[in-house]
């Protein structure tokens, strides 16, 4: 052990009585020993209650500490501070499944803290790109608009861009319930991190996990709307630390649901403003992108490891604006996005997924022959093209009136209606197989003349175009299996 390490360990035992400034969730401590950046801090208030924090800025003169559980109740002379000489770590183990924790990973279900098998730094470490395995396993969610048009792949990070009042929680719950991988069952876990969401929302998820009988495979990290906002900054990191342990030490397939990332970003802005940093867009700090990347990039698969981390972050777009910094920067990091549209929701379509701006970047390698079905790539591309034309026709119709449209445009209108009502729209408990999804896509395309379908091959036209009625037998009446 080096001399400096010994000194630091000794110093970690020192306790400072009194702080020099308290500003929001930040503590300023002067005249300390040399304190490391991002070191774990323990503060004890005058009642003897322990609060955890992290060093945000360290200099010879003053150390800035961010207290995760807030500073209310702390007094300047009565606060005792101890710098632990190591970063914030979380003891993790498989026994954490089935339990409820706060944002820092401390149990909040009344039970004892689980024995950790390993202490892991909550900030994680960047994955070496050469160690990554490129994700290509198709996850069947049973939801047509996702499976058919924006396929989810194991190891992907695919956020839901939603708005207030839209059914993103229902969709996330339905995906959790129905998701399965062709030919691979079993060993899965769900890590659920709630940041600043309402108690009702948390309860909705717990109930939904209960109903589908997966609760013992779920670890919940709850930092709810009435918890200190600063705790939200550490919540996703705690959750992902456990997810990494489950995926890469225990070999499990982990689905991580992070909701709501907008609240996380708000907390980040709060801290940044308090520290007097130069803001970039809309008051968010310039490092919002890097900070979000630290979270989103903790997903994927590693070569030689059986497990995986699939991320499903949910964020509500402020004012439904997709160009707002939060969805915008997220979209640059995540591998696609599922975008909700209020107008579709108003028309009673569930899930109200906007066809055009939604995208799955990893879909190209996970679909097609041997994975879903050979016609899938061309079919989805054709559906996108036709649906995008429908949007143009609808705009035109709103100006010149529907009667003035050409016969071809009328066909497109009909296609659009069918596509939204029969393909996109489905029940909360309707679980469609990939074959059914694709057949429904062909059924929609069959409403258009074959010459219009430039993106599918002649062979595919011969096999599927206008022939779906004959193929029905394979899965019943076309309404899909219901559970």
């Amino acid at each position: 052990m080096m001399k400096t390490d010994i000194q630091r360990n000794l110093a970690a035992g020192r306790e400072y009585l009194g702080v020099d400034k308290i500003d929001g969730p930040l503590l300023f401590v002067k005249n300390t020993h040399p304190v490391g950046y991002r070191e774990l801090v323990e503060c004890v208030d005058s009642q003897g209650e322990l609060r955890l924090g992290m060093v945000l800025d360290s200099s010879r003169d003053v150390v800035v500490v961010q207290v995760f559980s807030g500073t209310s109740g702390l007094s300047m002379p009565g606060t005792r501070v101890r710098f632990r000489g190591r970063p914030h770590t979380l003891p993790v183990s498989k026994t954490m499944l089935g339990r409820v924790f706060n944002g820092l990973g401390q149990p909040s279900d009344g039970g004892l803290a689980p024995m950790g098998e390993q202490d892991m730094d909550v900030n994680g470490r960047p994955i070496n790109p050469t160690a990554r395995e490129y994700p290509r396993d198709f996850i069947q969610t049973g939801i047509s608009v996702i499976d058919g048009m924006n396929t989810l792949i194991r190891g992907q990070k695919l956020p839901i861009f939603s708005g207030n009042g839209l059914p993103h929680n229902e969709l996330a719950a339905q995906i959790t319930r129905q998701a399965k991988i062709k030919g691979a069952e079993g060993n899965f876990a769900v890590v659920f991190a709630a940041m600043g969401v309402k108690n009702d929302v948390a309860r909705f998820f717990i109930r939904s996990f209960e109903e589908s009988g997966v609760l013992e495979n779920v670890a919940l990290f709850l930092s709810l709307a009435d918890d200190p906002s600063i705790e939200r900054l550490i919540t996703p990191r705690s959750a992902l630390t456990l997810a990494e342990h489950l995926a890469f030490d225990e070999g499990m397939h982990v689905l991580v649901i992070l909701t709501d990332m907008s609240n996380y970003c708000e907390s980040l802005r709060e801290i940044s403003t308090l520290r007097g940093e130069i803001p970039s867009r809309k008051g968010y700090p310039g490092y919002l992108y890097s900070d979000l990347a630290e979270i989103y990039e903790r997903s994927g698969m590693l070569k030689g490891f059986p497990g995986s981390i699939t991320q499903l972050p949910i964020l509500t777009m402020p004012n439904d604006d997709i160009s707002h910094p939060i969805p915008d920067l997220s979209g640059y990091i995540t591998e696609g996005q599922i975008v909700f549209e209020r107008e579709m929701y108003g028309r009673g379509i569930y899930p109200p997924v906007a066809g055009l701006p939604s995208l799955s970047r990893l879909m190209k390698d996970g679909i097609g022959e041997g994975m879903t079905r050979d016609d899938h790539p061309h079919l989805s591309s054709q559906l996108f093209a036709a649906y995008s034309y429908v949007k143009d026709v609808r705009n035109l119709a709103s100006v010149i009136g529907e009667e003035e449209l050409t016969p071809l445009d009328h066909q497109y209108m009909e296609f659009g209606e069918f596509f939204e009502r029969k393909f996109v729209n489905q029940g909360h408990h309707e679980n469609r197989s990939i074959e059914e999804t694709l057949d429904r896509g062909w059924e929609a395309l069959s409403l258009l003349p074959a010459e219009e379908l430039h993106r599918v091959t002649q062979d595919e036209l011969d096999t599927y175009y206008g022939r779906i009625a004959d193929r029905r037998g394979s899965y019943g009446d076309g309404t899909g299996e219901r559970d």
Partner: protein
């Protein structure tokens, strides 16, 4: 200069470390901070203080920790072993890091940038007693099947060659030559170091005259890039910046590709790493990895290394240019680099200009793009560096500072269009915003190498696309029926052109890449359909008849059905098209 302690840490704030007690630190000097020895660079000196930007995570660094100076500026090592390697932003080979720290990257690891143990077969190309100078070739190493690596005298060294190693196997550390210079004898190895922020010298800048053929039709035909040119690809998320960059990296006719993943997704680099070795370059029938160098600073790696990665990449590119190669750099994305500048500037509490970016942003962008060019090298060869920089404007809004400043310093602009991307029309390069100033420079090449009709065809179709926009505005107000057939035919031809030509499927074995000849043939067929069709309409043929021509389906599917090698199929298709058009016209001529 020997390693020495140049100061101690005073303050740590993210990737910015302030030091005091500074003795003889040098501006831009590479330093190591703390006992964990994380790498950084001195970016400001003031009195006894210094500001250091650190390329690794600073967790645990405390005031009082020592700062070690290396005496050297931040440099890259240039020599055999570069090709096919994946580096991080400061040229640490990621595979070597993996051997030490496994799946998750640890801090403070130092590994040689080029392998010290690999032996390369050196064949001398000069002889003892020769007068040599910087940039001259001393000998060659067959680095990959495709790349013959020229071992060059480093710029700035000249004199007579007192020793040159005979043919044989050497490591990069072995001395292969001694040069008697005015300052005394210098020992040369197979590798040299070069500071990343300093452009490598060349003899002369030559005019651009050759296109960089990318195999992407919308680029080569409508908005061509010249070898040695610069281009920006801006686009919101999901519009296909990375897809376009990947397609160019795969199929363009450069000799060497330097792919810089700057602050982007980890899986994208993995995609390149898994896909490129399997793909075969159609020009040489060798694996694409045989010509590719990757620099990966993914978005969760430290911010300041992101800033350095761009310079690391361009310096490596210049080194291969100096050997007489044509190099293309993909920088994906320069916005992340600009944001790294912003973050560091903010942490240093500098006065911000637009949107928090530092005032020197345009200067830095200009310096970077000016390192491209078609050069006469010091060794008397010709080589080029082309830069293809992606820009990720927030909210897809091209009026933001990075896009606007980049536009000032590039001569070609491929604006990605959200509408096209939504319709899954890829590459989503919009034909209204995009432009290329290289057209005049490279027109001669096309006319000479491919066919004289190229320029005329190209301007005709561009003209039609412009017309179509105006017509579509009318259609939006009154519906298509209000237009006469002659004008509706313009819209029809443009639709055919977009489907049959502009759209290109990157995953189709035939369509993913088109030779210049195929492009010009396809263009000519569509222009023929337009010219003859417009005539026919004047003679009274209805639009419906023209649209229903059976041959049209063959024209639309030609990109998938006719491979690059089967040019005679185009002749046949052209004849069939002419014949069908003749027949159509004939009915009306009789009346």
């Amino acid at each position: 200069m020997k390693e020495r302690i140049v100061g101690t840490v005073r303050r740590v704030n993210g990737p910015v470390v302030e030091a005091d007690g500074i003795t003889d630190a040098i501006m831009m000097e590479m330093v190591q901070v703390g006992e964990v020895r994380i790498t950084g660079e001195v970016i400001k000196l003031e009195g006894k203080g210094a500001v250091i930007q650190v390329y690794e995570d600073t967790t645990g660094i405390a005031p009082g920790d020592p700062v070690y100076g290396s005496g050297e500026p931040m440099s890259v090592e240039l020599g055999p072993g570069l090709i096919g390697t994946i580096y991080d932003g400061i040229q640490r080979p990621l595979e070597a890091l993996f051997d030490i720290s496994r799946e998750f990257i640890q801090r403070g690891i130092s590994v040689p940038k080029l392998s010290r143990t690999t032996r390369w077969t050196f064949s001398p190309a000069a002889k003892e007693g020769d007068e040599v100078q910087g940039g001259q070739c001393l000998g060659t190493v067959q680095e990959t099947e495709r790349i013959l690596h020229n071992i060059l005298v480093p710029p700035g060294i000249s004199g007579s060659l007192s020793y040159l190693a005979p043919s044989g196997d050497y490591t990069v550390e072995d001395i292969i030559a001694r040069v008697r210079t005015l300052e005394g004898e210098k020992e040369l190895k197979m590798y040299q170091s070069w500071p990343i922020r300093k452009p490598r010298p060349s003899a002369d800048r030559l005019p651009l005259s050759e296109p960089l053929v990318t195999g992407q039709r919308v680029i080569d035909t409508l908005f061509p890039l010249a070898k040695g040119g610069t281009v920006a690809i801006p686009g919101g998320f999901g519009t296909g910046k990375t897809m376009t960059q990947h397609a160019i990296a795969k199929w363009c006719d450069a000799d060497i590709i330097v792919y810089i993943g700057c602050g982007e997704r980890g899986n994208e680099m993995t995609d390149v790493l898994t896909e490129f070795p399997k793909l075969v370059d159609p020009r040489t029938n060798l694996s694409l990895m045989n010509r590719t160098i990757l620099i990966a600073n993914t978005s969760n790696m430290p911010v300041s290394a992101r800033e350095a990665s761009i310079y690391t990449g361009v310096t490596i590119a210049e080194y291969f240019r100096d050997q007489g190669y044509h190099v293309a750099i993909m920088a994906d994305s320069t916005s992340r680099w600009a944001e790294a500048l912003r973050e560091l500037s903010g942490r240093m509490e500098e006065m911000p200009a637009e949107e928090g970016f530092p005032a020197y942003l345009p200067t830095r962008i200009a310096e970077f793009y000016e390192r491209a060019g078609y050069m006469k090298t010091l060794g008397g060869k010709e080589g080029s560096v082309s830069i293809i920089g992606a820009v990720s404007p927030p909210g897809g809004d091209f009026s933001e500072p990075v896009t606007q400043h980049t536009k000032r310093f590039v001569r070609c602009f491929w604006g990605l269009d959200r509408q096209l991307a939504n319709a899954r029309h890829y590459p989503a390069i919009g034909w209204l915003d995009s432009y290329s100033e290289y057209l005049e420079d490279i027109k001669g090449w096309w006319e000479e190498k491919v066919g004289p009709e190229w320029s005329a065809d190209r301007s005709e179709i561009l003209d039609l696309l412009q017309k179509e926009v105006r017509l579509q505005q009318v259609v939006k107000l009154v519906g298509p029926d209000a237009l006469p057939d002659s004008q509706r035919f313009v819209i029809e031809v443009c639709t055919v052109f977009k489907n049959a030509f502009l759209q290109q499927n990157a995953f189709d074995d035939i369509d993913r890449y088109s030779t210049a000849e195929k492009q010009s043939r396809m263009l000519h067929l569509i222009v023929t359909y337009w010219r003859r069709g417009a005539e026919a309409i004047q003679r009274g043929v209805t639009l419906v008849k023209l649209k229903r021509m059976k041959i049209l389906q063959d024209v639309i599917k030609m990109k998938f059905s006719i491979a690059n090698e089967n040019m005679e199929d185009f002749e046949r298709l052209e004849m069939k098209l002419e014949r069908s058009l003749d027949r159509l016209g004939a009915i009306y001529d009789e009346n």
